[in-house]
């Protein structure tokens, strides 16, 4: 049995020589749903177990991965734990506030946020410095969190469309509140510009608001769907001004952010099926440095990359551009493992981090096969 697993692993690693430029496989002590960049070199992970104390770690990416020149002379391929701290409860979400050493977390079942000092050069300890009360007490859903650079650290947070607010962290003052009547559960919350906020609802509708104006947000209806009671996840791309919505049935719809009422730009039926009951595991995200590509995780043990530029205006089945199967292959229970998070590297086009329910974290940089075959390489980034 163990030998079989070894052989499967050997096969996959040999196959991986052709399909990945870089591949690093790590094992955390506990699984993470957090993969949050604190800089282009550091990333935060955090445990979400309900029983024991959970850790928040800030990890420095392996030097070998980051090396541009003389990569061959760099043998350093480990994560370095640069800062670490202990959380009393689970950490389901963590958002780093750009330009600061501050992060906020949420436990997934209350609307309050915990505020952390990630530590500087003089200390390797992450310390809790305060908390931010949510708009709703007794909520069972965790808050979604968004942050943007500003002179005063602020976070936008809320679990439902009618309790979204922008809070100044140091004073705890609410500086903006989303004015809506509906109280839909949120699946995502993000800034697309300094002032434009996009809130994705689990039922598929989208709210777009400008925090500079008290006007009611623009509301966009859910995409037409064949199935009832599906869940939707959303991600907006600031650079392309596009929005992707992905349903628990695998329907993916791309819309133009400026013309949300104008219907789908393109769509596709992905080869995925909601398996686990934990919708918190699902992540869909636009690639920050690779045009039209999205990554999808949380439906199985795989992370899939799709190229939306190949999608049509009518719903057709599509296959992924690339699929990272590493978590499934290297897990002791290949059927049981589920990806819990993924994150694109902010600058490198094909470098991703992904995490799974067995505590594994992979860093990978896949080879663009079409370019490799036609002999043209990626333009330098």
């Amino acid at each position: 049995m163990e030998e079989d697993l070894d052989n499967i692993l050997d096969d996959w690693f040999i196959e991986s020589i052709k399909i990945y430029k870089d591949l690093h496989v790590y094992q955390l002590e506990n699984p993470t749903q957090v993969l949050e960049w604190t800089s282009g070199r550091n990333v935060c992970v955090a445990g979400y177990t309900s029983s024991s104390k959970n850790e928040i770690l800030e990890l420095h990416l392996p030097l070998k991965l980051l090396a541009d020149k003389n990569k061959g002379l760099c043998a350093e391929r480990d994560f370095k734990v640069v800062h670490g701290g202990f959380a009393d409860g689970p950490v389901r979400r963590l958002r780093h506030i750009p330009g600061t050493r501050c992060a906020v977390t949420n436990d997934g079942h209350s609307s309050s946020l915990q505020v952390w000092d990630l530590g500087g050069d003089d200390s390797d300890v992450i310390r809790r410095t305060g908390s931010v009360e949510g708009g709703r007490t007794g909520s069972v859903r965790g808050s979604r969190i968004a942050a943007r650079p500003s002179s005063q650290p602020q976070v936008l947070h809320g679990a439902q469309s009618d309790d979204v607010r922008l809070t100044e962290i140091t004073s705890g003052r609410t500086v903006y509140k989303l004015e809506v009547d509906s109280s839909d559960a949120l699946s995502s919350l993000q800034f697309v510009t300094d002032s434009i906020v996009v809130a994705g609802c689990c039922k598929g509708s989208i709210l777009v608001a400008d925090i500079r104006s008290p006007a009611a947000p623009q509301v966009c209806c859910p995409p037409a769907s064949s199935a009832e009671s599906v869940l939707w996840w959303t991600d907006a791309s600031a650079s392309s001004s596009r929005l992707i919505r992905l349903s628990s049935c695998g329907q993916a719809v791309v819309s133009e952010l400026r013309m949300l009422g104008g219907g789908a730009v393109c769509q596709a039926q992905l080869d995925i099926q909601m398996r686990g009951s934990d919708s918190e595991d699902v992540v869909v995200s636009w690639a920050p440095a690779l045009d039209d590509c999205i990554a999808v995780s949380g439906f199985s043990g795989a992370v899939q990359i799709y190229n939306t530029s190949l999608w049509k205006s009518d719903l057709q089945e599509t296959t992924p551009l690339f699929q990272h199967r590493g978590h499934m292959v290297s897990s002791q229970q290949p059927d049981g493992v589920l990806t819990t998070a993924h994150a694109w590297h902010p600058e490198r086009p094909r470098t991703l981090l992904s995490a799974a329910s067995d505590g594994s974290v992979h860093v990978w940089d896949w080879v663009n096969q079409s370019a490799a075959e036609s002999g043209s390489a990626d333009p330098p980034t």
Binding site: L9, D10, D11, F13, I14, S16, I17, L23, H24, V25, Y26, Q27, L28, E29, K53, E55, L59, P62, N70, G72, L73, C74, A75, E76, R77, D78, F79, K80, V81, V82, H83, G84, G85, F86, S123, D124, V125, I126, S330
Partner: protein
């Protein structure tokens, strides 16, 4: 990196607690920040002094490369101060200063190491001596003879075998993974114990198993912590990169040179390449330096129990190190056209076959050299790993006899342009943060001590260990003293007579949960303690009983005669000390219980009376 010299001391305190005192001496060193050169730890436990590892720092060329043994003694031999030396494994940063210590400073006591370490350590020491003395021309270094003399002092250790160093000191080795023969060691004196890990690895690899120790609950676990703040990339990814590089070079028709040390990593990489060639159906030849194969096979046959389970199992059917695709190398093959892979010694490209092949292949950018380990300063390996692309090579020394009687030696210096691809890969197997936690879970120490080479920040790890295991974690810095309080239980035999007597004295029946005071004599004899009645102790030791009495003189003014004064005292005491036995004896004394009072007059002044009081030591004891 830097040296670490650590002093560990224990003494029995009055409160029946043990105090362990650590003094650590760290000599800060500059350097390339490589994971080398530090370990030399001095432990003093129950009056025994033990040196753990005797490593050297590779970044220095002068005396600073060796630990400062003058810390132990300013003059004289170390033998008087050390009960034994224990070497955890054969890496030079753990054993490189050994011949210097034993032969040049002077130590004749026992040196313990495992069988494989004993076999491999002198080869590495000799290699290193050659580089230092023959290549770099240094003097004041140990000689080949010194290495041999030093190794004569070595006593080999078997795994899990308790070795009695002397009557009181015992040591036991446990498997540490890391490299062939690496061991952790449990040191015990009486009820006090320490575990020293050396370098260890908690995940098995292709040819070694994972470190293991039983729940020995030492007072202190001293662990290496070079990788304590890392999360290690998987071994398979390291191997994948190795195969990827080899494959890339072979695909473009290049030749791949892999300089290796004959044992350990070489076998691991051979197993890997063999598997890869088989699966990919590759045809390019793989060669292994001649002679080495036999030598390596010889060692692996001897030390097969030190490898992992899979290798041990297959070894029964066939020799794991006899390969289908890997053939013996002949020096003429280096000029053959087409791709090939060659494993050649030595590993640091400082001499011999690997250097010859390197010179031949260095000029072609299609070729590749893969350095699978660390290289010491002054070697070609070290230079190319630091990015040097132009090398000044010492050509063949040509010796010609001219027509007369003198000889001329020509040293040809030539420049070598390094065009081939240089790849540095680390396969070293060390415990990371998770591994340290696993080991603590296994051994269940009462205290944790992390030794580290540099001033790294490990507050988070310290907090994590203290929270998870509720034990103290110490990370002594340069010159810092750490005092660790422990609670050793000291078993004492009590004589039955004494117990019976205590029972007869009455009082509440003994309650196992409550401490109770007993009176007796504690005898320490031949490593055991027993509590007996004082009569029995006197008898056993053949001693006479002596009475100890305290006396005191009190002066007072009283015009009465001596007997009258005494009588007045008697009546006074009678009235104030109700319930006590007070007697006026005919011999002119008053006794209150066992206290004796006498009266006499001063010679100069009859009105000044001197009261003489006398009491036994038991009275003092009882009144306290």
């Amino acid at each position: 990196g830097c040296f670490l010299l650590l002093w560990y001391n224990s003494q029995l305190c009055e409160s029946n607690e043990c105090s362990f005192i650590f003094n650590t001496y760290l000599f800060p060193l500059q350097g390339a920040g490589q994971d080398v050169g530090r370990s030399c730890i001095l432990v003093s436990i129950g009056g025994k002094n033990i040196m753990l590892d005797c490593g050297m720092h590779m970044g220095y060329n002068d005396d600073r490369r060796f630990p400062d043994f003058s810390y132990i003694t300013q003059n004289g031999r170390l033998t008087e101060f050390l009960d034994c030396v224990i070497i955890s494994h054969f890496h030079l940063d753990h054993c490189g200063a050994l011949p210097y210590m034993s032969e040049m400073v002077g130590y004749d006591g026992p040196i313990y190491m495992t069988h494989p370490t004993k076999a491999i350590c002198p080869i590495l020491l000799e290699d290193f001596r050659k580089i230092t003395v023959d290549k770099k021309g240094e003097t004041n270094f140990f000689t080949s003879q010194m290495i041999k003399d030093c190794m004569k002092k070595v006593i080999p250790l078997n795994l899990h075998q308790t070795v009695q160093v002397d009557d009181e000191l015992e040591i036991k080795a446990y498997y540490a993974g890391h490299v062939l023969g690496a061991a952790m060691v449990h040191i015990k004196v009486g009820s006090e114990s320490v575990v020293y890990t050396g370098d260890y690895n908690m995940t098995p690899d292709r040819h070694l198993g994972a470190a293991w120790i039983d729940k020995c609950r030492p007072d202190i676990l001293i662990s290496e912590s070079t990788y304590a703040t890392t999360i290690r990339d998987s071994k398979r990814c390291r191997e994948r990169d190795f195969l990827k590089k080899v494959h890339e070079s072979i695909e473009r028709g290049g030749k791949v040179l892999i300089p290796v040390f004959a044992l350990g990593r070489a076998q691991e990489l051979c197993i890997l390449l063999e598997t890869f060639w088989e699966r990919m159906n590759l045809k390019a030849p793989i060669y292994f330096s001649t002679g080495l194969t036999e030598k390596a096979n010889h060692y692996y046959k001897l030390f097969i129990t030190w490898t992992n389970q899979k290798i041990r199992k297959t070894f029964v059917q066939r020799n794991m190190f006899e390969f289908k695709h890997i053939k013996a190398f002949d020096r003429s093959y280096a000029d053959n056209p087409g791709p090939m892979v060659v494993f050649a010694t030595p590993g640091m490209l400082h001499a011999g076959q690997s250097l010859q092949i390197f010179k031949k292949w260095a000029g072609n950018e299609k070729n590749m050299v893969i350095m699978p380990g660390y290289c010491v300063q002054g070697t070609i390996g070290h230079k190319i790993l630091n990015g040097q692309r132009k090398l000044e090579m010492e050509g063949r020394a040509t010796v010609r006899k001219l027509s007369f009687t003198f000889t001329l030696t020509f040293f040809l210096l030539c420049n070598l342009d390094v065009k081939l691809q240089v790849e540095y890969m680390s396969f070293s197997a060390h415990a990371d943060a998770k591994g340290i936690m696993q080991l603590i879970r296994m051994a269940e120490p009462r205290n944790m001590l992390l030794v580290h080479g540099e001033a790294v920040k490990m507050e988070f790890l310290k907090g994590k260990i203290e929270q998870e295991f509720s034990i103290n974690c110490y990370m002594p810095a340069n010159g810092e003293t750490t005092t660790v309080t422990t609670n050793p239980s000291v078993p004492v035999d009590i004589s039955l007579n004494l117990l019976k007597r205590e029972m007869a004295l009455g009082g509440p029946l003994p309650d196992p949960k409550k401490p109770r005071t007993m009176h007796g004599t504690l005898i320490m004899k031949e490593n055991s303690l027993k509590l007996v009645s004082s009569e029995q102790a006197l008898k056993e030791l053949g001693l006479n009983e002596h009475q100890l009495r305290f006396t005191c003189r009190v002066q007072l003014q009283d015009p009465h005669s001596d007997p009258d004064t005494l009588h007045r005292i008697y009546t006074h005491l009678k009235s104030v000390l109700k319930g006590y036995t007070i007697q006026h004896l005919p011999d002119g004394t008053v006794m209150v219980e066992s206290i004796v009072i006498k009266v006499s007059s001063s010679a100069e002044d009859p009105n000044t009376k001197v009261l003489l009081l006398s009491w036994s030591y038991q009275v003092t004891f009882l009144r306290c």
